[in-house]
Amino acid sequence: MEFFRNTNIDFLGKKWYFLIFSLIFSVAGVLSMAFWHGIPLGVDFRGGTLVYVKYAHTPDPAAIHAEIDRAGLKNARVQRIGQAAANEVVIALDIQETSEQALDKGKTLIIQALEGSAASANSGKQDLNNASSLTIANYLLEKDPLHLGTDANPRYTAMAQAIVGERDKARGGVLGSIDDLKTAADPAVVASLKDGFFTSDFGIRNVEIVGPQVGQQLRKQALLATLYSLAGMLVYLALRFEWIYGVAAVLTVFHDTLITVGAFSLLNWEISLTVIAAILTLIGYSNNDTIVVFDRIRENIKLLRRDKLADIVNKSINQTLSRTILTAGLTFLTVLALFLFGGEVLHAFSFALVIGILIGTYSSIAIAAPILVAYQEWRAARGQQPIAMPVRTGGPGQPKEKIKA
């Protein structure tokens, strides 16, 4: 099977369309970053508290918000996440509610607020859905419902772990009632638990608390990592090809990064650490694509010495087009699988990759190659010898031949 055979598309002739297309997306992104959503930073960079809560029933964000508001936590955001059937919400607190003196205060207050009415109806009892195995073990040790002898401590500890395991792994994190434990624990233990515990209608799945200092540090690191990554590309390509190839590749990748971050800004999706990882990956990926085209240009320059660079570049893009589309398509397939089946945690990450692969493939054809040609034309217009062309006669001031195949 073959999709492309001897294509002969004049890509460079369409460079103005490409430019307009790229401009629309980058400018829209930049405008959104500047005037609309800004760069929506996640809790990793902003600092703050995130609590992921799973409910036993369909959660009502407005009611949850009211409960948290009543507890004195202002500016909390409550949002449903995941599939509707998952009954999950995420509650976000600003950095103001997250001081380094009491890092987990916000989390504790949220749990108290959500337990609210259920806790007051069951005063004196603890919430089994948010109890740790240690709490349960200590309780059992004290009540000793099985009248165990010397090995009470290890046995109750193991029992508590089994109970927590049943709750978290088999029941998805929330018990409807203590009777749900009948399969996992001794009836006497279940009966004893009923005396000291109640079940609220939610369980905490995941907590992220980032203090202001770490947020600032991570922001700096993410920026540095991106810059170093770009600098690394530039140096490597300048050594392997000519410096202009490095510049063209880095400009291309910058374009890709800008559009991807812009897409996050337009959609107001938060950029987390894993999204930065995705962006660095797409820097590598987009470079891949660009290098494949550049390699072919370098090869063709040697073969077709008399042709114009624009023709050589066009021919090179066409020759590699089949590979470019195939690879992009296959990588896109895998990333799409991640996006569709990878679950909530990987959603933003795989979204960045989906966008990045589309843009990265497009840009190696539509941005990187035209930059090369434009630079040559600019040099030619100033009467200089084109760079990156093999030396024919030699002479002072001309670049040495670095091209090896």
């Binding site: 905490i204 770490v214 990554s229 470079n287 494949v292 020759q319 990588t331 990450f349």
Partner: protein, 539 residues
């Protein structure tokens, strides 16, 4: 089959076996469950997949510096008294921002030479320089200061590790983190209750046994009043542990006058364990080291009838009369619960933290989320992989089989690498595996497309394969190097999940260089040896 090819085939099978061993080790039993257990034994799951607590804390290294400069001040005062050097004042002008800086004021010019010589002689870690109006600045040398700070961090890591070990957490990670920020990363798999662990890690557990010179008083003011507004020399006022409250909350106030010098400190402890006092209340019993015991014996012999104070973290825990000389055992009581005596004896055994710590970041992943993440991550990996494998078969026919073999081998080598290095698999790491499949297949596509091109240009299959591989090789090296560069930068800057992602990406790409180029080539060569002249290549 020619000899050269046989030899290469042996290499490939050898590598396959080697990396399969990397993944599975030698499984105890060959059932599906046993195999799965031996995988997770070698490739560790990250916190985001197995659940647990991730903490970043910062050592308040200035605490350690303050202790050192306080000692320097004490030393100077003693020396100046011994040499009869008069001074107006000795202070730390800025203990918050410059804890290493000591200012001595009002030394007469004729004694300044004397002062300088004792200061430089007895405080080798400090620089001494004279300032305006007969004053001297004594400040820690920059090298000693940074040594002291990094020592404080190392000591804190040791202490925390001791404490965590005693809690029985399996496979904890405790290491320095960040770039020169005095931060420590603590990862505790399976810990679902960070609150207690945090408290245990945080308690400095600084134990001192000192002489009590008076008290309790109900307020600081009363203590001064009883002594006509002046404390005895070399004594300080210390708060007592409040009555009926837990170890770190205060309700009722009490104050004691306590000697500055300690008879023994936590460093002299050999061990500590939960026990009961004479009234059957929970208490902590401690035993001193040989040296500590001798010190304590000579102190208590000299002070029979005086009061002894047990001070923990700057708070007077209890005061008792010395009835007779004590050698090496003692009891600390103070209305503890059983849990508290357990925790306290544990922290005493593990040694004191050299400085306070502050929590900067806390993440807890519940086991239910981790289990969901594994399920969806693996599901996505399988779907993505299947899609690629099937596509390659359809598009390249027999050569697609070749690519699929290379891809599967790529995956085995990647996982084998991770097994050998004991690498941590995180959720983004699973994504890295999937991405490796997508990007790894690129090398095959590059080569195959090139071979097709050469075939179209009229080359014979053997020469098309030869040309295809040699031309694509240059491109493949360039693309791999640049991607590995960005993955390596991720590895250096990232933590936790992101690091896991970079790890799989780097290993995957390295493995890909071998599978897509070497293995695919061998398969092609093998196909070509069985090939009839003039027969078309299935690609």
């Amino acid at each position: 089959m020619n000899k050269n090819l046989t030899w290469k085939l042996v290499v490939i099978v050898g590598i396959l076996v080697f990396f399969l061993f990397g993944i599975f080790g030698i499984p105890k039993d060959w059932t599906g469950k046993g195999l799965l257990a031996s995988i997770t034994d070698r490739i560790h799951l990250g916190l985001d997949l197995r659940g647990g607590t991730h903490l970043i804390l910062q050592v308040q290294v200035d605490d350690a510096v303050n202790v050192d400069s306080d000692n320097a001040i004490a030393r100077l005062k003693e020396d100046m008294r011994a040499r009869k050097i008069n001074y107006a004042d000795i202070t730390k002008p800025d203990p918050v921002n410059h804890p290493e800086l000591v200012l001595v004021k009002g030394i007469t010019p004729d004694q300044s030479g004397d002062f300088k010589s004792i200061a430089t002689e007895h405080l080798p870690d400090y620089n001494v320089s004279s300032g305006a109006e007969n004053s001297f600045t004594v400040t820690m040398k920059p090298q000693n200061l940074s040594d002291l700070k990094s020592r404080a961090v190392q000591q804190a890591i040791e202490t925390i590790r001791n404490r965590i070990d005693q809690l029985g957490v399996s496979e904890p990670v405790i290491q320095e983190h960040g770039l020169g920020q005095y931060q420590i990363l603590v990862q505790l798999p399976g810990v679902d209750d960070p609150a207690r662990v945090k408290e245990i890690m945080q308690s400095t557990a600084m134990l001192e046994i000192k002489q009590s010179l008076g008290g309790p008083y109900s307020s600081e003011a009363q203590a001064f009043q009883e002594h006509n507004g002046q404390l005895p020399p070399d004594a300080v006022l210390m708060p007592g542990k409040s009555i009926g409250a837990s170890r770190d909350t205060d309700s009722g106030e009490s104050w004691y006058i306590i000697s500055r010098a300690s008879a023994v400190t936590g460093r002299d402890l050999r061990t500590a364990e939960p026990s009961r006092d004479e009234n059957g209340q929970p208490a902590v019993r401690f035993i001193l080291t040989g040296d500590g015991g001798r010190k304590f014996y000579s102190f208590t012999s000299a002070h029979v009838g005086d009061n002894l104070a047990v001070v923990l973290d700057g708070k007077v825990q209890e005061v008792a009369v010395i009835k007779e000389p004590i050698r090496d055992t003692g009891i600390i009581n103070g209305r503890f619960t059983d849990q508290q005596t357990q925790d306290l004896s544990m922290t005493l055994r593990s040694g004191a933290l050299p400085a306070g710590i502050k929590y900067l970041e806390e993440r807890t992943v519940g086991p239910s989320l981790g289990a969901d993440s594994i399920r969806s991550g693996v599901q996505a990996a399988i779907y993505g992989m299947l899609a690629v494998l099937i596509f390659m078969l359809v598009y390249y026919r027999w050569a697609g089989v070749n690519a699929d073999i290379a891809l599967i081998l790529n995956l085995i080598i990647l996982l084998g690498f991770m097994g050998f290095f004991g690498a941590v698999l995180t959720l983004p790491g699973i994504a890295g595996v999937i991405l490796t499949v997508g990007m790894g297949v690129d090398s095959n596509v590059l080569i195959f497309e090139r071979i097709r091109e050469e075939l179209r240009n009229g080359k014979t299959p053997p020469s098309a394969v030869e040309q295809g591989f040699s031309h694509a090789w240059i491109t493949i090296v360039d693309t791999h190097v640049t991607t590995i560069v960005s993955a390596a930068i991720l590895f250096i800057f990232g933590t936790g999940p992101v690091k896991g992602f970079a790890t799989t990406l780097v290993f995957g790409l390295a493995a890909n260089l071998f599978t897509a180029v070497f293995v695919s080539r061998v398969i092609f060569d093998w196909v070509l040896t069985r090939h009839q002249r003039g027969e078309a290549l299935s690609i």
